[in-house]
Amino acid sequence: MSLRSSFAEAAGRSSYWFLHTFMNGGSSLPGKLTLKLDPNILQAFSKKYDLVIVTGTNGKTLTTSLSVRVLREKYDQVLTNPTGSNMEQGIVTTFITAPRPKKKGLAVLEVDEANVVKVTKYITPIAFIFTNIFRDQMDRYGEIYTTYKKILNGVKLAPKATIIANGDEQLFNSQDLPNPIIYYGFNHEHHEPFDAPANTDGLLCPKCQHILKYRMRTYANLGDYFCPHCGFKRPKLTYAVTKLDQLTPTSSTFELDGEKYKIGIGGLYNIYNALAAYALGRFLGVSQAQIKDAFESDERVFGRQEVINVDGKEVTLILVKNPVGLNQVLDMIETDPQPFSFAFLLNANYADGIDTSWIWDGNFEKLVKHEIPQYMTGGERYKDITTRLIMAGVDKMWHEPDLTHVIAKIKEMPTKHVYILATYTAVLQLRKQLAEKGYIKGGMD
């Protein structure tokens, strides 16, 4: 490590210590300070760690935490970054505040799509995991092709790193890359060729610009796609979901390459995350038995979706931020055999996305078919989500623009199960309330 890097790292470390000791937090500022003193600081860690980068629109956080869990079955120490610290500054903080590894360590980092290049510029990873690319908050991110290009800008600097990609995502098969590529995906069903629903993004064949067809579709544009015009099709999968057994809002059992696995979280999209972690584990030599243990060990890895007990109500608070994620969440809560109440808290601050249009792509119409005795809308933009639900055919709705009243309303809900979908700042605000009232420990991790 150069003198400058050492000095910058020391400065960053002490600012982190100061912030944590006296200011109760701070994960990007130390990185920012360190980068100011030495813009090349990441280079100093390139020889100390083997790096795996997890990127894509949805599922970065859970794929990363599951991967870490899987790899800890084999490796003594695996460094990772806390949720949300997936930009350059947060990544620098992660490295400078980690205990110094005695031998070469392993790091699995979730990296924001546009920040991949900022990391690979200094550290050549041994592998990438690509989860998926969906339309995200468009006022900030732009289109799916642009997003993939941003990722590839970073990949170009690491042409030997193995890419472990979602084979059900056609974009990941659209460019010829020098890298070795391993594909994972779903191989549990085969049907006669059919069309995806019209309101789906990314249905064009990247080779000949005709509409793709499917023999199996999991959700959005993911699945066993092929182009009837030019023959472009899903690549051969190395690791696959071969069977779905039981899906509930709190657990999923399924088979990977013919072996049974269980994870303590609902949602088809989370099975993709587990599959990605499994693929990375297998790639790095973790055994199937070890992976099974890692999935089933009972730690709170699924932080974004825990069930909160509010005076007897089982409240599931779920972050929603884009249409594909929203529809996956709606699919998941639909698997609850019990009647439930449903709330949606919509804010439109910068971190939520200031354009609320995406709620119209949510298939709320499907909720009306279920036994949901009470709905509630809240947040600064409660009127927009109220209109959405009214046009979906919902009546029996409470409105609570002020999030400080939401907890009292939850207690009045007529069902034991309550699902609260909320945008980013609404989740933060509600968690703060829940923490103040002692229902959770606080913070968001």
């Binding site: 339309r135 468009m138 006022d139 289109e143 799916i144 092709y145 069309d195 995806a196 019209a198 309101n199 789906t200 993004d201 249905l203 064009l204 610009q209 005709h210 509409i211 249409p323 200031i354 354009d355 609320t356 249009s357 995406w358 709620i359 119209w360 792509d361 009127k383 927009d384 209109t387 959405r388 009214i390 046009m391 979906a392």
Partner: protein
């Protein structure tokens, strides 16, 4: 069973669906129900024929650059049909990319000039490294209605002869950030850059389009009750 039935063509609905345009269909169906009508939706995409006589209403949405470019190459095959549809005073709602493609041309992401249908006279230039993003309010100077939405576009559209703006910009950028116009009205074609999506927030436009379609399809019927429909606040 509703008394009236309308057929809606969702032009390139599987390619131009980026800006939650499906919300416009949901809103049309919602208000149609209150007018004793229902709506069937059919997606007409690349390689498929558009028969104007089959439809009473049409929606032409916006998409990503790549999809819009692919659509622009297919459009000449549908030009005669779309022109006839418009000339027959049938209502068409065009948003963002659909709006641009009805006009003479627009400038693509790499600076290339992409020809449109040239059925409406406007044209669209591009801004360098800038987009008009944010909430927008306009006023329809004919009806006095205020419309609210969210805009997010790089294109700068300039209206031509025979079309008037959908509204005058009260706050936001509008068509081009210069002349205080937003959107366009040409015969029964309503164009806009609004997301929201536009009809979910601005029921008055949905009501107008539905009435135009109903009068067109059922010229002998009395729709005075439908004309009275009150639009409740939506946002």
């Amino acid at each position: 069973m509703p008394k009236y039935h309308l057929n809606l063509a969702h032009l390139y609905g599987n390619l131009l669906n980026t800006y939650s345009d499906v919300g416009n269909i949901i809103a049309l169906q919602y208000y149609a129900k209150q007018m004793d009508a229902d709506i069937s939706v059919k997606v007409i995409s690349i390689g498929q024929e558009f028969n104007p006589d089959e439809f009473d209403l049409a929606l032409f949405g916006g998409g990503q650059d790549y999809e819009q470019f692919v659509v622009s190459k297919d459009l000449p095959n549908k030009k005669a049909g779309i022109k006839k549809f418009i000339d027959n005073q049938k209502p068409l709602l065009a948003i963002c990319g659909g709006y641009q493609l009805l006009g003479q041309y627009y400038i693509g992401a790499n600076g290339e000039r992409i020809p449109g249908l040239s059925i409406l006279p406007h044209y669209t230039l591009s801004q360098d490294h800038n987009r008009f993003i944010g909430n927008i309010t306009i006023k329809n100077e004919q009806t006095g209605d205020e419309y609210h939405g969210f805009e997010n576009h790089n294109g700068m559209t300039f209206l031509g002869k025979g079309e008037r703006p959908l509204g005058k910009v009260i706050s936001g950028h509008g068509n081009n950030g210069q002349d205080k116009t937003e959107g366009a009205i040409f015969k029964e074609v309503y164009c806009s850059y609004f997301h929201g999506p536009i009809l979910t927030r601005n029921g008055e436009i949905a009501k107008h389009l539905l009435l135009a379609a109903l009068h067109n399809k059922y010229p002998e019927e009395d729709f005075s009750k439908q004309e009275q429909l009150t639009i409740k606040p939506t946002f």
